[in-house]
C-alpha cells in the first residue's frame, strides 16, 4: 500500500516484500536445524523426499514469519529494528500478508503429509499453530516468559526433520528439541538486554523490562547450565561419537564463560553491554556448529 499526501492508493506489493515477510534469516536457522535432524536420523530417505521435507519446513517457517508480521504490524512500527518491514513501512496490504501466510501454511503441511508422512505433517502443523497463535498472539504480548515457552516453536524443526525419515519421535529428537528450547532464553534475553529500549517502546513485556536487568542476567546464566547438560547428553547416552562429545564440551565451555561475563556485567546502557552482544553473536554460531557437528558425527559413526 502506498500513501500519497492527498489520497490512499493501494499498489501491488513487490515480490521482494513477500520474500521479506518470510523472515529469510530466521528461516535459514530453521532449515539448517531441520536438515541436521533429518541427516542424524537412522534409516534412509529418498533425496527427493528429503528435499521436499526440508522445503515444507522452510515454507512452514515462512508462514510463521508472515502470520507473525501480519499480527504484529502495530508493534513492529514502534521498534527501530522492525519498522522497515513491508507492513509497518506501508509497502503491503495486510490482507495480502494474511492470505500469503495461511496459504504457505496450508500448502507446506499438505505437501508434507502427501509426499513425506503425516506424522511430520502433524508436527509441522502444530509448530506453525504454536508459533502463530500460542506465541505471537497469546504469550508474547502478555508474559515475560514469552520466549521460554514460545521457544518450543523454534525447537520443532529438527524433530520434524527426524520424523520425516523415521515416521516417529524417539529420545534423540527430544534431546535436539530440548537443546534449542533451553538455548532460546539466554539467546533472546541477551538481545533483549541491549534492545531493552526498543522492546519497552513497543510495550512487549520482555524480562529486562518487567523484572530488571539483574534478574535477566541471573536467568541467562542459570539457563546456560541445563542447556549445556542437554547438549552433551547425546554423547553421555552413547548416541554420538567422540567428535561431537569433545567439540560440544568445548562449545558449551565457551558459552558458559560468555554467560558468566554477562552475569558479572552491571551495565545499564546498551553501549556498555559488550558481554551481552558477544553472547548473542556466539549463541547463533554455537547452535549452527553444535547441530552441524552432531549430524556429521552421526553420519560418520552411527
Amino acid at each position: 500500500m502506498m500513501t500519497t499526501a492527498t489520497r490512499n492508493i493501494t499498489l501491488p506489493a513487490e515480490w521482494r516484500d513477500f520474500w521479506a515477510l518470510t523472515k529469510p534469516r530466521v528461516m535459514s536457522l530453521v532449515v539448517f536445524t531441520a536438515l541436521c535432524g533429518l541427516l542424524a536420523a537412522p534409516g534412509n530417505i529418498h533425496p527427493v523426499i528429503g528435499f521436499t521435507a526440508i522445503l515444507c519446513i522452510a515454507l512452514g517457517a515462512g508462514a510463521c514469519g508472515a502470520l507473525n508480521q501480519w499480527y504484529e504490524v502495530d508493534v513492529d512500527a514502534k521498534m527501530a529494528r522492525t519498522s522497515k518491514r513491508p507492513l509497518p513501512a506501508g509497502r503491503m496490504d495486510p490482507e495480502a500478508a494474511l492470505h500469503f501466510g495461511i496459504g504457505l501454511a496450508a500448502f507446506s503441511v499438505g505437501i508434507m503429509g502427501v509426499a513425506v508422512n503425516w506424522i511430520s505433517a502433524a508436527l509441522l502443523a502444530f509448530s506453525i499453530f504454536f508459533y502463530a497463535v500460542v506465541y505471537t498472539i497469546w504469550l508474547k504480548p502478555n508474559t515475560p516468559q514469552n520466549i521460554v515457552i514460545g521457544g518450543a516453536a523454534g525447537a520443532f524443526p529438527p524433530v520434524i526433520g527426524w520424523a520425516a525419515v523415521t515416521g516417529d519421535v524417539t529420545l534423540l529428537p527430544v534431546l535436539l528439541f530440548s537443546i534449542i528450547f533451553l538455548w532460546t532464553p539466554p539467546h533472546f534475553w541477551a538481545l533483549a538486554l541491549f534492545m531493552k529500549t526498543d522492546y519497552g517502546a513497543a510495550g512487549i513485556p520482555m524480562l529486562p523490562n518487567v523484572a530488571g536487568q539483574r534478574v535477566t542476567r541471573n536467568q541467562i546464566f542459570a539457563y546456560s547450565f541445563p542447556m549445556a547438560a542437554v547438549a552433551i547428553a547425546p554423547f553421555l547416552l552413547g548416541e554420538s561419537g567422540w567428535l561431537y562429545g569433545v567439540t560440544s564440551a568445548l562449545l558449551n565451555l565457551v558459552f558458559l564463560a560468555l554467560a558468566f561475563n554477562v552475569w558479572r556485567n552491571e551495565a545499564n546502557e546498551a553501549k556498555d553491554m559488550k558481554p551481552e552482544k558477544q553472547l548473542f553473536a556466539f549463541s547463533i554460531l554455537y547452535l549452527f556448529l553444535l547441530f552441524a557437528l552432531f549430524a556429521f558425527d552421526r553420519i560418520l559413526f552411527a
Partner: protein
C-alpha cells in the same frame, strides 16, 4: 482485469503497477514450473521407478 487507468491512477502509478505485476507474474511462473518438476520427481520417487 480492471485497468489501472479506470481506477484513477496516474501514469506513473500505472507504470509501477504494470512493472510489479510483470515481476510477480514472472516469479509465479518460475514457482509453478518448479512445483511441476518437484511433483513429477516426488511421484517418481514414490513409485520407485529410479530406485
Amino acid at each position: 482485469m480492471t485497468q489501472p487507468e479506470q481506477t484513477g491512477f496516474t501514469v506513473e502509478e500505472t507504470r509501477i503497477i504494470r512493472q510489479r505485476q510483470a515481476a510477480r507474474s514472472r516469479i509465479m511462473g518460475v514457482v509453478l514450473v518448479a512445483l511441476c518438476v518437484l511433483f513429477f520427481m516426488i511421484t517418481v520417487a514414490k513409485i520407485g521407478v529410479w530406485g
